[in-house]
Amino acid sequence: MTTTEAPATRKLAYVSAINEALAQLMRSDPNIFIAGEDVGLYGSVFGVTRGLMKEFGENRVVDTPIAESGIMGLGLGAAATGLRPVIDIMFMDFIGVCMDEVVNQIAKMKYMFGGKATLPITIHTMAGGGMAMAAQHSQSLEAWFCHVPGLKVVMPSGPYEAKGLMIAAVRDDNPVIVVNTKTLLGMQAEVPEDMYEIPLGKAHVVRPGSNFTIIATGRMVGESLKAAEELAADGLDVEVIDPRTLQPFDTETCVASVRKTHRALIAHEAVRFGGIGAEIAAQIQEEAFDFLDMPVGRVGAPFAPVPFSPVLEKQYIPDAARVVAEVRRLLGRA
């Protein structure tokens, strides 16, 4: 049975946590199937579906042609007629190919049909740079989908979150986009063996603190924890919050933290301009303007495509050092 925030028991890699979540979900519900490019025989290019075809057969772990619109529409049609599909889009960048299915069809069918449609579809995809894969295989585009009513967006920051959010996403009766991060796939952490859900729309205070709040998504949660350690030397007691779900967004938890710490910075790997950080910053100033001791800061990628050369890519992708530097700059201590 489902337990929420079950006790951890053993260490598991991020990739294995996703894999285990999918396997357990499929065992528990015959209406769940996975479809995507190379998810079956090959086990997905990232290994997240390894072994699933062997266990569940090719009818439930479906290798598709390279045809993102077709795959996404297949998921929609199947969801609208009673199945619970998990659609794998290999790289998040490829969602560009099927934006109509995601934005105009999946997100809107329920509303357009006056509420009649129920669309329990999960879109699983991989975001983030750091692997020298350049501009079309490295983006973090989660903000696009947070802007579209009808969609939910989750962004796991570690193995525990990867499993719990995947289970919650698949069991949710709405379209949920699960944005996993490539460079985290090898990350190890304690993960319960049982199925458990991390409730959607609920942020998690990863590190409690008293005088500075960092709200970080995905990979930047780990980077922000490192930054917090370093900033402790400056006398800062940093609270790190992982929203886990970006849409619907848990404004309450973030605002409560800022009311306590009076200072906030948002860190994400996506391009800073128009990123989810802009929305979070706006919500904080709307809800806690009088509590703020300084402008809300943001760390994100520069307004450029993700470059190929590792030297350039290192300049591009935000990390703990960048968070530390930005916090110090904001506090006038740089």
Partner: protein
């Protein structure tokens, strides 16, 4: 062709019901009572009627922006349809979809759609679902000559053939993609030619002859039901009205003579004369059918006009499914 007298009269009834629904809808829009854009199905009735006559409510269809005819033929409730066109809370979509998204999932209609070419991927999903669950249900994907240029059609056709899905792609080739004639939007004339590229049969039938459609669709559907895979049925038809709205003559993108030529092959007139020859229908009986449907329509319009607009809170409802509220 095995076809009972009852089925013949039912085909006629379905076509007339579409025609009258659309003509009245056009009038309502022109008089300003119905807001937004209407893409009317007049002229193409034989396709919807001939295909839908083989389907039950369990079989699904995906439709197009020209979707009223499909829903009427699938057994749509005219009251809920007009109420939707009026933007009322009693409409099929509670006034949130309108003409372009009119649908009834309970009748297996996965939506009219405002995006050209959106239907094929959705249709293969429904077909996948039918096959996955071991049913003999079939999904019909209606699309036009214009949509056959969208990548979505090609992706879906490929996947349907690859997975041997129980889907029939019904191309309503009315000769125009919106306001652009077929000769100006694709280098081929027969969309059915494209089927071979995906490894499925593609055939052409006269879309103005409801019996030709009925016969061909029946075979394509039977083929899909017995697990033999998808096929493409191209119905050559014509849009009597404009792409949007009622006016169909005196437009820059086609000659009036062409419209008049096609109107000579009005699918309802053609079929009525056939039924009269067979002694199944008289002029009086045909008039009675019309009168009965018009009565239903007048009542449906009155229902729509008497219905309330959506309440204020409705704006933010139906965006998400609340846990536990789903089926």
């Amino acid at each position: 062709m095995d076809i009972s007298n009852d089925t013949l009269l039912d085909l006629h009834h379905r076509m007339v019901r579409i025609r009258l629904f659309e003509e009245e809808a056009g009038k309502l829009q022109e008089s300003g009572k119905v807001p937004g854009a209407l893409h009317l199905y007049v002229g193409e009735e034989a396709v919807a009627a001939g295909v839908m006559s083989h389907l039950s409510a369990e079989d699904q269809i995906t439709s197009t922006h020209r979707g009223h005819g499909h829903l009427v033929a699938k057994g749509g409730d005219l009251r809920k349809m007009y109420a939707e066109l009026y933007g009322r809370s009693t409409g099929y979509c509670k006034g949130k979809g309108g003409s372009m998204h009119i649908s009834d999932l309970d009748l297996g209609m996965l939506g009219a759609n405002g995006i050209v070419g959106a239907g094929p991927p959705i249709a293969i999903g429904a077909a996948f679902s039918n096959k996955y669950r071991g049913t003999d249900r079939v999904t019909i994907c209606f699309f036009g000559d214009g949509a056959s240029n969208e990548g979505t059609f090609h992706e879906a056709a490929n996947m349907a053939a690859l997975f041997k899905l129980p889907v029939v792609f019904v191309c309503e080739n009315n000769g125009f993609g919106e306001f652009t004639s077929q000769a100006r939007h694709q280098a081929i004339k027969d969309v059915a030619d494209r089927a071979a590229g995906y490894g499925m049969p593609g055939i052409i039938t006269d879309g103005m002859d409801v019996l030709a459609v009925y016969e061909a669709a029946g075979e394509a559907i039977a083929r899909a039901r017995r697990g033999a895979g998808p096929s493409l049925l191209e119905c050559k038809t014509y849009r009597f009205f404009d792409h949007v709205g009622v006016r169909g003559m005196g437009v820059v993108y086609r000659e009036d003579a062409e419209v008049l030529e096609w109107r000579k092959r009005d699918p309802i007139t053609l079929f009525e004369s056939r039924l009269e020859e067979m002694g199944l229908l008289t002029t009086e009986a045909a008039a009675q059918v019309r009168e009965r449907i018009l009565f239903e329509i007048r009542e449906a319009i009155a229902f729509a006009e008497a219905s309330p607009f959506p309440a204020e809170g409705a704006l933010m409802e139906d965006i998400y499914t609340v846990r536990g509220a789903a089926r």
